[in-house]
Subunit: 200 residues, 2 copies
């Protein structure tokens, strides 16, 4: 056939998982379904886990890549996290900003030597203070990725005032959208130029 046998592992938190989406696709599933419809032979592995911080993801990502990304396949990894890191527990962020950046740096620096790698920034919730912490963290994430030559897709700036995203998050659980919000997020990644496969 000559078409590359593309495998993609998506690592992250509940946003990567697609929590709240009754269609069980989230943004990662929509991106891959779109790329398949456009003719790409993509195997989609969603490894987002609810409640996980960058520290949790750092602990498991490589072990979960190994059975899924084979020597003979065309391997890609996408990371997206941050919302659980800045979430407060007993009044302080679950992961200190410096530790998030250290986790990110360690993961991306390892991943980029093995796989084509992409970082997607965390999307906003229905909480202005949370979003302010997340905006600050996102800028540091973008800078760290840039230092490593890993492409970064910002999502917070476009979604924080997006009507569909905001309404679904507010009407759901204050954090996660429903199907239409995830479709918006998939569209942002697809249109970013950093995503590898054009959609339709």
């Amino acid at each position: 056939m000559g078409i590359p046998d593309i495998r993609i592992c998506f690592f992250g938190d509940s946003y990567v998982h697609g929590t709240g989406d009754d269609e069980c696709l989230g943004w990662a599933g929509r991106l891959c379904a779109g790329a398949r419809r456009a003719g790409h032979d993509i195997t989609y592995y969603n490894l987002g886990v609810r409640r996980e911080t960058s520290t949790d993801i750092a602990r498991r990502w490589l072990a979960e890549c190994e059975p899924r990304l084979l020597p003979a396949t065309d391997n890609h990894v996408v990371f997206s996290f941050g919302a659980n890191d800045v979430a407060l527990a007993d009044g302080v962020p679950r992961v200190h900003e410096d530790d998030t950046i250290a986790n990110l740096y360690a993961m991306l620096d390892n991943a980029r030597t093995r796989y084509r790698t992409l970082l997607v920034g965390p999307p906003p919730a229905a909480d202005d203070e949370h979003n302010a912490r997340l905006a600050r963290l996102s800028e540091r994430m973008r800078d760290a990725a840039g230092q490593l030559g890993v492409p970064y897709v910002a999502t917070l700036p476009a979604l924080v005032d997006d009507r569909i995203w905001r309404d679904e998050v507010r009407d759901n659980d204050g954090a996660h959208p429903r199907a239409a919000g995830y479709a918006r997020l998939a569209g942002i990644v697809a249109a970013s130029g950093a995503w590898w496969f054009e959609r339709q």
Copy 2:
């Protein structure tokens, strides 16, 4: 709310993964989307991995459950494998039938003490000899699950002569169907009485 916070990990091979489905759902995603539409609060973790045998799955399933199935959530595990075990490599099955049953027994015996557990039998391919080996293995899998009190859903008998399944498998890669075949398989599991959540 009072609705249980249900988490399900699906472990298995490319059939569990949904390989060949342009909608990126497979049968597991369709089952969970159906249960969510019926009002169940289900978190769907698809941990099917292409090419894996029961030996491969035995190595990773518990480590992958741990971050996903939490003490406070209502946890379920579904296993489905066998097609790669009976696939021939250098003229012999990749995993001997006795070893498949030993792997199955070890996994189910451990899983059933931790989580609600279900075994789904392997579906047929477009190869009569493969299907004959698979039919024999499936009966032993059903018996072993029965000894452990784990429900088993047969899929091969209903699919081997199913027009949709057969045609999609033949026209695709000889092993995997497309969206409609996976929808048929999801329907068999949903209608089995062993699946926990009614569909629609």
